[in-house]
Amino acid sequence: MAVAERQLDMASQAAARPAWTAVLHDWVTSADHKKIGIMYILMGTVFLVIAGAQALVMRWQLVYARHDFVSPDVFNQLFTMHGTTMVFFVGMPMIIGMANYVVPLQIGARDMAFPRLNALGFWLTLFGGLLVYFSYATGGAPALGWFAYSPLTTKTFARSAATDFWALGLIVSGFGTIAAGVNFVATIVTMRAPGMTFRKIPFYPWTILWTSVQILIAIPPLTAALIMVMFDRQLGAHFFDPQNNGSAVLWQHLFWFFGHPEVYILILPIFGIVSEVIPVFSRKVLFGYEFMAAATMAIAFISLGVWAHHMFVIGMSRTLDMYFAVASLLVSIPTGIKFFNWLATMYGGRISMDSPMLFCMGFLAMFLIGGLTGIMLALAPFDFQLSDSYFVVGHFHWVLIGGTLFGLFAGFHYWYPKATGRMLSERMAKWQFWLLLIGFFLTFGPMHISGMLGMPRRIFTYEADRGWELWNQISTIGAFIQAPSYVIFVWNLVWSLRHGRPAGDDPWDAYTLEWATTSPPPAYNFDQLPVVHSRRPLWDAKHPDDPDWQYE
């Protein structure tokens, strides 16, 4: 009797607070899309802090002309790892993680189509990242730049095994990304709730579908090209070795055939997030859904044919220059359509500036500028001056931070209550937003100017007589203003987990299915699979007198 009581007592204690090993075991063996999504995001956050620290070291090195803070080799390793990390181990995991969490909920599914493949994808991505960082164990990271132009990757110019670890890491994480892409396509095509035809799918899963199509088209060529690099380095092949009739330009084509869709892989999901948040916080339906949906497809397809605009300075024929300039400019048309539709959604609405909307507005204001500088870079002759200059560095940070990161923060602030049952602190969110915005402007704005004043990218130092020092100093100040905003964000995530206001099921009075279940949702997501009649099932439920499906 006493023994049984004690056992009962222990059992109830264990239920109240399971041992950390049990929690850990639960997470690492989980095939639940929500846990995997959160692990992706945690991974992205850790790598964000690492790559952010690398950026601060680089900014400090560039604060004075001929400053001697780090050696040239260390600097070259820093920008290689910063770029590789941000693209493959921050941007992609955060985007895939968020989609992992949200997409099954939004389409009314119980999980992804292949839960175990989903777990495999995450762990491959994580171990790929660790493998890339293992290169430091060889005495130093690779110093290639994130696009690693051959023949810098051949044994002649990269003698240590760092380059091999870099390539292997990207091959491994690439398989993880492909797994995620396959899974999203299968999930979105086959597992939508009853009644949710393709024309009634919420906008975010729609963008994830096309992002996944891009992943499936773009990542395999990169993986193949990296395997070719490994063949060159380990088996004496000569794919990219000009000394033996290999081609240095071939690598650029293969890499950018991946690399340009990649930037849309990093922005299409953001278009999806923004298209969810703006209607909810404007209290309106998304304006021109069909045109938005078509524009998404147009961007996904056109962006497969624009890769060589990264290569205008290799000396292509005028015909090819023109083709890639025109194709690149065409992308601006569907992007413009999206922009105007977002503005039309806000117009006539009742806009509340809660943190998700605030970050969306930051996104709109900033991404526009990144788009306009993109038009400049797409014009081949103008690109002859701008390519490989700091203007390009300014441009793509404008798009990736002003676009991707602001959009991701909008998503974090929007869905955090769903994932945790707690609201994030609005006060911290506002501090984060304004510090990020101001710091971001100061960091990347001057880069456009120093680029037009002739400063090439990837230089560890510069001459005092070029007139670049002031602009670099403003950039460095901006970087140190930005830095605390990320600390506030991470702290907000941690603090609100305990102290945030309880969120309830539907704190934003939103429209889509994820808000129909509890916060956080149970492992099986929904007690009963919901039946859907329109793109805004919760609007229909809240306005039975005036449901959406009458108008769609």
Binding site: Y289, F339, L343, M346, H543
Partner: protein, 347 residues
Amino acid sequence: MDGLVLLANSAAQADPTSIFEPASPPAESIRTLAILVFVIALFIFFVVEFILFYSIWRFRRRKQAGGADQAGGDPTAEPPQVYGSKPIEVAWTAAPALIVFVLVLVAARTLWEVKPDVPTPSPGDNALYVTAIGHQWWWEFHYTSYNGEPLDFITANELHVPVGDDGTPRPVYLTLLSADVIHSFWVPRLAGKLDLIPGVTNTLWFQTTEPGLYLGQCAEYCGTQHAGMLLRVYVDTPDDFETWLANQRKPAVDDPAVAEGKAAFLSESCINCHRVRGTPAAGTYAPDLTHLMSRETLASGLVPNDRENLRKWINNPHDIKEGCLMPAFGLSPEKLDLIVDYLATLK
């Protein structure tokens, strides 16, 4: 007038590598395109940002006393739901399409202006042909033809070209090659950049109207000292250029006063990599030193070419250019002095 010119010159010196201070037709064409695009971009920027901020302000949710919003209605009521409009969508598809169309036309015109067909050298063409070869981390310039007359000498890091007179343009055609990895030739005031790719032959064109020094540097990441691969283009008057050419075409000065230094130089491994025309030193891996002292800088533009820097460089190049491919040979101070004495005569 003079004041204006002076102002222009000092402005040019303040931003010696600005793409908005063109001094050659291709750079000028690109600036014209750039200004047009900036005007269009600014217009779009102001229109869209205005609509954005106006919407945020005009349609913000307002709470007033009594709970009624500013329209006087029920604060919980939803605004009218507008699902879309086909005519509006067509309109804002057409507008960007029109802008793209105009941009394409202008870009095409500029492209054909800055990338002309390259003629072959012919007598009386006033054209200079130079083969520029990128090395980690310096530039080799092989002069091949001027005004139809074949040339055959090699120099490094400092490119001399003749200025065009009124009515006599003196175009410069650079054949771009690479000995190792990819580099990029970029002197922003003269032309857009063009890559030097191993296994590929590219040709860059520019022509100048103002004598002077034009700065630039390698623009494609090429390894450790990418930042230390600076470029100097000297645009000389035709007379100065002819004088410079005549000097460069001569073999190296052979001053008997430094015979001991010359012997020291030739006895060391310097000659495995460097060439001094007219001596057994015939290396091709490193800069040609035949007329070393006709150059103003050392280490691809990093330091002034004076005796002190030359000595410092030979003693340990990595003190000036960390990671460069020339090793420190551990020469004795005496031998160092002898070699510097000799090199200092190579005018």
